[in-house]
Symmetry: C2
């Protein structure tokens, strides 16, 4: 029997950075809010609320308070409104997301029809779209793109997409375009986490994917894992059912970029309990077999 964690599970650079910015700001500034959840993990957002950092959803709920910009970024026009309102802005946008926004601006300025590979309802994509002027399309997969001739197409990606989807989009567009310019804005942490998840899923007979149900990158991990083995996507150990582990001996765990370590540890320990291995429970993520950051 084994319970292993995929390499590169949990917090990425951008999430760590956003949380650090938020906590540090809360020590020196009062009444801070975040515009939208700072990361897509309800448990972490709750923890921040305990520190007095609450999340509001609309500009008119800000009431002049210092405002943290979430890791996914916000729309260009929203940023302008915050500035116009003389709001103290604390920017926790992931630098890789900001870079994607710059590419979006650049491609549209250079006259490309911009295609965003992403989820059109995701805040990162909504923000990204606002930086693209002129012709823009948002697609989740190549199938969603109409098959017709295009002239000059520029592609950028939500940072948490799958490289295979980008390859399929390229494959479809190459015969349809005179020119195609693909900026691979899928962040490296996403790519290595997905690869590690596949590696572990291949040698497991059950995978548990941990992370916010609203987390795009976690949903993507679950989708990828399902291609190999039975997979459950959970937010916390409370969702785990003992019967999942009947006749299973090789359990794999992976976690999204916004999943805190303490939740992963709780899930690991709960799985051990379900499997009758209570003597092996751990206190730190580093003690879970297979843990490694690349």
């Amino acid at each position: 029997m084994s319970v292993k964690i995929a390499k590169n599970s949990g917090f990425c650079f951008g999430v760590k950075r956003a949380i650090k910015i938020a906590f540090e700001a809360s020590h020196s500034v009062d009444n801070i809010i975040t515009l939208g959840p700072i990361i897509h993990n309800p448990q972490m957002v709750e923890k921040l609320a305990e520190e007095g950092i609450v999340s509001v959803n609309n500009l008119n709920e800000i009431n002049g308070r210092p405002t943290i910009i979430r890791s996914h970024g916000i729309k260009k026009e929203t940023l302008q409104q915050l500035k116009a309102g003389n709001i103290n802005i604390i920017n926790a946008t992931c630098p890789y997301v900001s870079k994607t926004q710059e590419y979006g601006e650049q491609l549209s300025r250079e006259g490309y029809t911009v295609i965003i590979l992403g989820d059109k309802d995701h805040p990162e994509v909504e923000a990204l779209r606002s930086y693209v002027e002129g012709d823009v399309r948002i697609v989740g997969t190549a199938d969603e793109l109409p098959t017709r001739q295009y002239d000059r197409v520029g592609i950028i990606c939500q940072t948490t997409r799958n490289i295979k989807d980008l390859q399929e989009l390229g494959q479809k567009l190459i015969p349809l375009c005179r020119e195609i310019r693909i900026v691979n804005t899928i962040c490296n942490a996403t790519t290595v986490r997905q690869a590690s998840t596949i590696e572990l899923a291949k040698e497991s007979d059950l995978m548990i994917v941990i992370g916010g149900k609203n987390s795009s990158n976690t949903k993507m991990l679950a989708k990828i894992s399902e291609n190999y083995v039975e997979t459950y996507h959970i937010e916390t150990e409370r969702e785990i059912e003992e019967k999942w582990f009947e006749n299973r001996s090789r359990i794999g765990i992976t976690a999204g970029a916004s999943t805190p370590d303490w939740i992963i540890v709780e899930v690991y320990n709960k799985i051990l309990k379900c499997m009758g291995n209570i003597d092996k429970i751990v206190e730190n993520i580093e003690d879970i077999p297979g843990f490694k950051e690349e």
Copy 2:
């Protein structure tokens, strides 16, 4: 029994234009030469020689004579040498080839590592390469490209390549590059001719591909056709063997962009003779069943 020709067989726009430029020039200018064969069809080159337009291979054979630049273009430095030598230059470079050279110059000026999809020994590619400054690689297929990380890659193609090879190259490079810019310089005539060849090959039990043995686009047609059915690549009707047609009833013909109509007609008539259908022989390409220009 049927003998059909693939739609869009024979001369393309660039070849027609080059031949026209050569013949027209020969009416007003004496002692014209071409630097390298004007097109890749030995029979057509022979015909031009009868009109006094001979092909030389080296600059030092020119001896001050008016010089036609072949449809495939020539190296940038060779052009400069002709100009420096005050040679009367008659430019028959295919405009699509010239456009590809411009893209090559542009991509290298903008700092891309340039990859040319093409045959490194083909004069079009040799000329194209000369327009790219800095880092350049020439590959015939994706397999020839080392699998390593690249930063910003620009791809251009020999005008007669296959779109599938370009897709495979894109597929391979997308995960390896931060940015990839693909200018699809495969000319439209190439694409429709290849598609028409596949269409006919699928419904034939033998394919005859006509064109210069040195013609890149003709060799590509033969390679594509071979994936579907037994295929022979010939230059003229003299190479045809009667035994090829034993137990064959649906013969397909296709011809490269540099194959003159008269050669295609001779091949068609020879096939009819081999199959005992001498009463159906034709005088013009337009009379061959299936002939159509798009």
